[in-house]
């Protein structure tokens, strides 16, 4: 039973990836506009960031507001290496991931000393420090004018040119892989260990779960995810600048996890779409949102408040409720059907056995005669 549940999830993720790839294909055929496709490209990159954060906050229970800085760093390292070195893109990806491991290690260690809100503040400070670095290390990042890699023509495996279209496909593949890995972690001993650490550190320690090991792991994973997102961002947009990597992004990532809920990865996918892509891919078709581009921020904020106050499980909770109610409904329908079947069957059985009144009299007479005695 468990095996098939996992299988269905994997299939779901693959279908999800295929659907995304389809969007790009349809864009090539001019059925979907490029701006919508761009919106989904952005969506996929943000999904990766949010997945990492989901593991950090939802499973390890660690508050961090440093995500934006890490993603930004990922973009700049990628950009620099693309422009100034002949390194192939996959190797650049590996390097950014390694940097993510180191950063995750550092922040993980810091988190052992600092809890909750103060950890969030420290990570925010880290992000701000990176922001200052981005603005000032002009040789590395191009400062406030930004860094562009229009000149670089990276080729995957030395063969496939990573233009917008191919990069989109590449990102979709990476997203599916990371979805599978994230899902695997949530349904594993590591996932259980992290949840125990989140719920009760004392109990976790009693059971042998080392805070050091699992905090480090959580921060390393989320940092690596952020780095991967940065790498892909640079490949896709070929441009990065400091204003993109601010607390704004970190807070939106947090909002995605809150609205999406930590109970289900699909909830996270929907939550991320709502916060990052609903506006660009759907709402801008309506004049109200075109004229009031900030109206959407209003919506996000309001939804966050409503979720936290009245529906803390977020969209994941909604998904579970629908599934649960659906199961009950199906159960009821099946029961009704079974009862109906039984009623029909017993009616038929009675009809077979029952005789008409005249037949009954006849049978009784025959029986009496057989007994050799007439009652009359």
């Amino acid at each position: 039973m468990k095996k098939t549940r996992n299988l269905y999830q994997y299939i779901g993720f693959i279908v999800f990836g295929v659907a995304l790839i389809l969007i790009q294909v349809l864009s090539g055929a001019r059925i979907i506009s490029t701006s919508v496709t761009r919106g989904f490209g952005s969506y996929m990159i943000h999904v990766i960031i949010v997945l990492g954060y989901f593991l950090l906050l939802g499973y390890a229970g660690l508050a961090s507001l440093g995500t934006a800085g890490f993603v930004g760093l990922g973009t700049y390292i990628t950009g620099y290496l693309l422009l100034h070195t002949p390194l192939p893109p996959l190797l650049i990806l590996l390097i950014t991931m390694l940097v993510g491991v180191i950063l995750g290690f550092v922040v993980g260690f810091i988190s052992l000393r600092i809890e909750g809100m103060y950890l969030a503040i420290i990570t925010l400070a880290l992000s701000e420090m990176l922001s200052v670095l981005f603005k000032n290390a002009i040789g590395f990042t191009g400062g406030t004018s930004g860094l562009n890699t229009y000149g670089a023509k990276p080729k995957l495996f030395g063969l496939i040119l990573l233009d917008r279209t191919n990069t989109f496909y590449f990102i979709a593949v990476v997203v599916v892989i990371l979805l599978v890995l994230t899902y695997n972690l949530t349904k594993s001993p590591v996932g259980r260990a992290m949840l125990s650490m989140k719920n009760s550190e004392s109990a976790a320690q009693t059971m042998g779960v080392s805070s050091l090991k699992y905090r480090l792991f959580a921060f390393i994973v989320s940092s690596v995810f952020a780095m991967i997102a940065g790498f892909l961002y640079m490949l896709y947009y070929r441009y990065s600048e400091p204003t993109k990597w601010t607390i704004n992004l970190s807070l939106n990532v947090l909002a995605s996890v809150v609205i999406g809920g930590t109970g289900s990865i699909w909830g996270i996918l929907i939550g991320t779409y709502f916060v990052f892509s609903l506006n660009d891919t759907l709402l801008t078709n309506f004049t109200f949102f075109q004229q009031n581009p900030n109206a959407f921020i209003f919506l996000t904020g309001t939804l966050m408040i409503l979720v936290v106050m009245f529906y803390p499980g977020g969209i994941s909770q909604l998904i579970f409720t629908i599934k649960y109610k659906g199961k009950i409904l199906l159960g009821k329908l099946a029961k009704m059907r079974a009862e109906k079947k039984e009623a029909l069957a017993s009616q038929a059985a009675v009809a077979e056995v029952a005789l008409s009144p005249s037949e009954t009299d006849q049978k009784m007479k025959e029986g009496d005669e057989h007994d050799g005695k007439s009652a009359k």
Partner: protein, 275 residues
């Protein structure tokens, strides 16, 4: 005037086969406050040993020093696992204590709400998984086998304690007595040599406390384990303990069988006040 019953305790830490846990001059200070002072006693293998004392006597502090949630300011805690070398617990990190076969429960039951009862039990085996991170990321086949073994064990223990039908639900919202039992079940997962219970009767009514006494005895007999409990509830601790130590103001004021300790003047004074 302190009355003290001599028990078979070696004054230096020489071992006798009898002793499983040994406290030597255990002292815990928090700044200017001395919570536990010069605590010295032994717990014998296979017995049910109780630690009693009025509120604020230092029971919980002593408890935390033994289980390494606090590192004692002075003094030592030695553990003597069967057929293995002596362990100086002061040197052991709190999350490594379980590896030696010692497990504790919590007064305010500490279960994981976001996991099912079954999964709560399975977490105790976290350290025994091979290459847990690689195994978890890729759902490696070896991990599936490990999971099956751990799951089986957990189900058996749940059945043993009459908790089987709770296996797939979250402990959130379950009756308090059931939650306490689940914590006990969790403690049994590693076949512990020493189970340390932190006020297990807290919040239980009389009937539930009797049930608990039964369960503790059953566990000691079935699992051949030693039980050390810190407790307030006199009927429980006096009823099931083989020996009892009484402390007050962080100091040991008496040790012996429940009968003996009950009759000690110092113990009476601690609980009832001097006349």
């Amino acid at each position: 005037m302190m009355e003290k019953v001599q028990n078979s305790v070696a004054t230096e830490h020489t071992t006798s086969d009898d002793v499983i846990l040994s406290l030597r001059n255990l002292t815990m200070r928090f700044g200017g406050l001395t919570a536990v002072s010069d605590l010295t006693f032994d717990v014998k293998r296979g017995e049910i040993f109780g630690l009693i004392g009025p509120n604020g006597a230092g029971k919980t502090t002593a408890f935390n020093c033994i289980t390494q949630f606090y590192k004692a300011t002075e003094g030592d805690v030695y553990f003597y696992p069967k057929d293995k070398a002596e362990v100086h617990l002061n040197k052991v990190a709190v999350h490594d204590v379980i590896k030696h076969g010692i497990i504790r429960t919590f007064q305010n039951v500490e279960l994981v709400w976001e996991l099912t009862v079954l999964e709560n039990l399975m977490v105790t085996y976290t350290t025994k998984y091979k290459s847990i991170i690689v195994g978890s990321l890729f759902h490696m086949p070896w991990q599936k086998k490990e999971d099956a073994i751990v799951r089986d064990k957990a189900l058996n223990i749940l059945a043993f304690l009459g908790l089987y039908h709770y296996k797939d639900i979250s402990p959130y919202g379950l009756p308090y007595g059931i939650k306490k039992k689940i914590e006990l079940a969790r403690a049994l997962m590693i076949n512990p040599e020493l189970i340390i219970l932190d006020e297990p009767a807290a919040g239980l009514n009389e009937r539930e406390t009797e049930e608990l006494a039964e369960t503790i005895r059953m566990i000691r007999d079935m699992y051949n384990t030693t039980i050390f409990l810190v407790e307030h509830d006199m009927p429980l601790v006096m009823g099931i303990s083989d020996r009892v130590a009484a402390i007050n103001f962080g100091k040991l004021i008496g040790i012996g069988t429940p009968q003996e300790v009950q009759n000690m003047q110092a113990v009476r004074e601690a609980y009832l006040g001097s006349e």
